[in-house]
């Protein structure tokens, strides 16, 4: 089949330089090869021996390409949301002060006297104790 006929059948109008035409003509005039005579026989044997599972591949990769990152995103996002939700239940709205028993501020007169001076009376001031020691002779 000549080059000109091929183009006519193709229904295309093509403007080529002379060199391009020559190249195209050389290629189109190459002798054609055909399949061997036992092609059909070998093909039937090949189909009979082939496993349909090898050729019926489900394209998982496009699905995995989106499913995996989405699952990861949902997992992390869900964990973050759940963590925020649960941690919010244990934290009061207003921080409460610890329950510390109230104590009055001790004055100089209310200083607890040592055990050696525990004679049932109220604790005396340091000055009174000092003066009392001077007037009262010690008993041995």
């Amino acid at each position: 089949m000549s080059y000109e006929n091929k183009n006519k059948l193709a229904g295309e109008t093509e403007i080529l330089s002379s060199d391009e035409q020559n190249v195209s003509r050389l290629l189109s005039n190459l002798k054609r090869v055909d399949a061997p005579k036992d092609f059909d026989f070998h093909l039937k044997a090949r189909i009979a021996n082939a496993s349909p599972a090898d050729y019926q591949t489900v394209r998982l990769f496009p699905v995995l390409k989106y499913a995996f990152p989405l699952a990861l995103f949902l997992l992390i996002g869900g964990a973050f949301i759940l963590n925020s939700s649960f941690s919010g239940w244990n934290v009061p709205a207003v921080a409460e002060l610890p329950n510390i028993p109230q104590q009055t501020v001790a004055s100089d007169r209310d200083i607890e006297k040592p055990a050696s001076f525990n004679d049932g009376t109220t604790a005396a001031s340091p000055d009174e104790v000092f003066i009392a020691d001077k007037r009262k002779p010690r008993e041995f």
């Binding site: 089949m1 080059y3 000109e4 091929k6 183009n7 006519k8 059948l9 193709a10 229904g11 295309e12 109008t13 093509e14 403007i15 080529l16 330089s17 002379s18 060199d19 391009e20 035409q21 020559n22 190249v23 195209s24 050389l26 290629l27 189109s28 190459l30 002798k31 054609r32 090869v33 055909d34 399949a35 061997p36 092609f39 059909d40 070998h42 093909l43 090949r46 189909i47 082939a50 349909p52 050729y55 019926q56």
Partner: protein
Amino acid sequence: MALDKIESRNTEACSTVVPKEIQSDHALIEATKNGDEAAFASIVGKYRGPLTNYLYRFLNDYEEAVDLTQETFVRVYFAIERYHTEYAFSTYIYRIATNLAISEIRKRKRRTILSLTGLFQTYSEDTTEFQPPDERSLPDQDLIEDERDRVIAKAIAALPTKYRVPIVLRDIEGKTYDEIAEILELGLGTTKSRISRARGLLKEKLKHYF
């Protein structure tokens, strides 16, 4: 440089009627889906020659071309249920064959341990890749004896894959630009550009035969 305009008449492709060839292919496909083995045998008989020739011109290896042609039909057979008639079966089967051939080219590259020519060349898209010539004899002695065909085949085999595929489909298989663009899933402009580029590369090697 004189420009020669190649004119052609309008064909039935311009009409909205589905070509008989495509109708026939779709009918055979439907029959195959219904379990008609003879219908599939008809498909094989119709496309085994063109596919073998296409893959041979692409790979420059007859045995490999036959093997990949069979593999193409096996894949078509097992995926027949998934084939949709929205596009031509010819486009479908050529696309499968092209993908198999490109995979084979990539396997060959991985098998190449060292490319001596690559050491002295800078990598670029225009660099023609080194392909060891297939010195084995062809089944048809006429082909062997034609030195010009051998030189042309060698020049085609030396083209980068992205230029080799469209030029073989265009100038050897006689596919239209639209068909080639559909097979290769490229734009029409890109397809035309690559074919033009391929012719430019081949011109340098084949100018002795002009």
